[in-house]
């Protein structure tokens, strides 16, 4: 298996969906490693509510388990199984429902290695969908990745393409630290090139999704695509945007961001989660601490407005950012609005 930087250039690519990329990563690693097992609600018969596990059905019968709706045990048991020598992959169904078992994540999984002075190795993965879909309202639409960046003790991956999904998830399945993976609902059906050959993507390496010279946009997940869309529109106005996809929040690739800012002198951070206190604020802080002299304008943040995700389509559209918000922010940071 080779690192992704080498493969992008040369490998035979085919188009598969984000969901299929996850399924392939699981299939390959479960075949290789008999200690991997996965469980959650609606997965063993249906392949997950978004169908990502369909390639696994009928192939690893005792290692794909449907569970009761018991989030505290879904997460807490991942910890117990990892301590007892297995490599569990627990699904959280919807990111919003992580809160129903949150104590097992923040108080147990994320603390036990530290509290035990490094005795515990925790090869476990928590994964599932986050973000908006078509009018799912406030309890099925949240993006809460910032919380897991804020509290120490878990690696946070948040892929935006099938290629990144597969490569990052294969790394997660070989990690000896806990990993949480957020998969945006609107990305599952999105297609993209993925090599036939096996590869992995190391954590903490951001990907420059589009090179540009005027403004840096740092983003993740669905907003990567909105930012790329914005970049296309802005190009017509002679504004050349660099789009950086962080891919992982913990570890955070500060270097790629700072190097880009040194080149463009303008930074916009863009995420679907709330603007107030979102991870973009952390990135903005890091940049002003470490590259203040390179900035020609204050850093701007794009994120959801400070309310919950409403049901009605015009309300949801108003609250959640899209490419138009990125366009506005880029122009504003350049002083063109």
């Amino acid at each position: 298996m080779i690192q992704d930087t080498a493969i992008k250039e040369c490998a035979d690519m085919r188009e598969i969906t984000f969901s299929e990329a996850l399924g392939e990563a699981m299939y390959e690693e479960m075949t290789r490693n008999p200690t991997i097992f996965t469980y959650g609600e609606d997965i063993a018969k249906q392949g997950g509510i978004f169908g990502a596990y369909k390639p696994l059905l009928g192939k690893f019968s005792d290692r794909i388990i449907d569970t009761p709706i018991s989030e505290e045990v879904i997460f807490g048991s991942a910890l117990g199984a990892a301590l007892a020598g297995m490599r569990p992959v627990a699904e959280f169904h919807f990111a919003d429902f992580i809160f129903t078992g949150m104590t097992a994540v923040t108080n147990q999984i994320m603390k036990i290695r530290y509290m035990t002075g490094g005795q515990a190795k925790l090869p476990l993965v928590l994964r599932g969908p986050d973000g908006i879909s078509k009018s799912a309202a406030a309890q099925h639409s949240e993006s809460i990745e910032t919380i897991f960046m804020h509290v120490p003790g878990i690696k946070v991956i948040i892929p935006s393409t099938p290629y990144d999904m597969k490569g990052l998830f294969k790394t997660a399945l070989r990690s000896d630290d806990p990993v949480i993976c957020f998969e945006h609902k609107l990305l599952y059906k999105m297609k993209g090139p993925v090599p036939e050959e096996e590869y992995y993507i190391p954590f903490g390496v951001a990907d420059v999704k589009r090179k540009g010279k005027d403004v840096t946009v740092v983003t993740t997940s669905r907003m990567v695509h909105e930012s790329l869309k914005a970049a296309e529109v802005l190009l017509k106005e002679d504004i050349d945007v660099e789009v950086i996809d962080l891919r992982t929040l913990i570890p955070l690739d500060k270097k790629t961001v700072i190097d880009s800012v040194k080149k463009t002198h303008h930074l916009v951070v863009a995420h679907e989660t709330w603007r107030k206190g979102g991870w973009g604020a952390e990135v903005a802080s890091v940049v002003q601490e470490e590259a203040f002299d390179y900035l020609d304008a204050p850093i701007l943040r794009v994120g959801a407005r400070n309310v919950h995700i409403p049901f009605s389509p015009p309300l949801q559209d108003f609250v959640v950012p899209d490419h138009k918000d990125v366009e506005k922010a880029v122009k504003k940071v350049l002083g063109e609005v």
Binding site: V73, S77, L79, A81, A82, A84, I112, Y114, G118, G153
Partner: protein
């Protein structure tokens, strides 16, 4: 009970060692030598002792905030325990956990836990791992009466019943959740009554009778090892000491505590062994002296050990800690 003198004295010795450790910890805390706060297992020693006499080294336990007795009975090193109470680098957790987070994964202790009922989901996962690996190990999840009112208890019992996992739920009903009496906060007379909701056996026993604990857990462990699934055992005891060292215990009278001192497990077992001709005064003295010596050595080891370097606070979050300390 038809057991060898060696086995019975072994049970007695474990209880005496546990008592000696916690008595010393109490003394050290009151002298201001231990940081944080500690919860004593004094008066509840028969439970850990009776349970652990049924377990192998490769069996797992999850412990509680009142877990010193569990650690000792499972075979932990008293020196590393005491050093952790002191916050020293030689402690089990290199000074990062303290009394409430002691763990020794090498002997199957998946951690004490500062969160009430926090160990039950973890035990459920260890049970899943055992089932998948197809070994005959078992897991014992210790928890208090207060924990039986948390959602995690109900989720875990249902879960382990559904998958028939080899998990034995040992409820140490010491009658108090912090300052609250169990009967004022709990809907059932016996916590074991709750087993019926999860279609598993539930039994209430005298938790101050080490023989009863041993015998009951023995059959539950056999059942679990043979694929029979979980059992809920409620061991009724009494928290002779406060919730933590320094608790003014305004919620109960001295007389009540004096009554329970008469029923504490070590004196009871001692009397029984003497009646059976299994323990002489001299043997009793020897066991006590050895335990106290072991504790004194643990104290000396701890006091001679250095505190951790402050910068070591930035280690042990991840397998490779470089780059996360920002």
């Amino acid at each position: 009970m038809d057991y060898s003198k060696e086995f019975l004295q072994g049970l007695y010795r474990t209880m005496v060692r546990s008592r000696a450790f916690d008595s010393k910890a109490e003394e050290l805390f009151l002298e201001g030598k231990l940081p944080g706060f500690i919860h004593l297992y004094i008066g509840e020693e028969a439970i850990a002792t009776g349970v652990m006499a049924n377990l192998r080294k490769d069996d797992y336990i999850t412990s509680t905030h009142r877990g010193h007795g569990h650690m000792i009975a499972k075979g932990a090193d008293m020196k590393k325990m005491m050093a952790e109470l002191y916050g020293k680098i030689t402690g089990y957790c290199r000074g990062k956990g303290g009394s409430m987070h002691i763990a020794d994964l090498s002997i199957g202790v998946l951690g004490a836990n500062g969160e009430v009922a926090g160990g039950l989901p973890i035990a459920s996962g260890a049970g899943m791992a055992i089932k998948l690996k197809k070994t005959d190990q078992v897991v014992v999840a210790f928890f208090g009466d207060g924990a039986s009112n948390r959602g995690a208890f109900h989720e875990a019992l249902n879960w382990c019943s559904v998958y028939k996992l080899p998990v034995i739920f040992v409820n140490e009903n010491n009658q108090f959740a912090s300052t609250e009496r169990v009967q004022e906060t709990t809907s059932v007379q016996n916590i074991s009554d709750r087993a019926v909701s999860y279609s598993i056996p539930g039994v209430t026993i005298d938790g101050n009778d080490v023989s009863a604990v041993y015998e009951t857990v023995k059959s539950a462990v056999e059942r679990a090892r043979n694929g029979g699934g979980p059992t809920l055992i409620e061991a009724k005891t009494y928290r002779i000491k406060g919730h933590f060292v320094g608790d003014p215990t305004l919620y109960r009278g001295k007389k009540e505590v004096q009554e329970y001192w008469k029923r504490e497990p070590i004196g009871r077992f001692e009397k029984k062994l003497k009646e059976m001709g299994m323990l002489t005064d001299k043997e009793k003295e020897n066991i006590k002296n050895e335990a106290e010596k072991e504790v004194e050595e643990a104290v000396k080891f701890s006091e001679d050990s250095p505190f951790p370097e402050p910068v070591s606070a930035l280690q042990d979050l991840f397998v490779d800690d470089t780059g996360y300390g920002y």
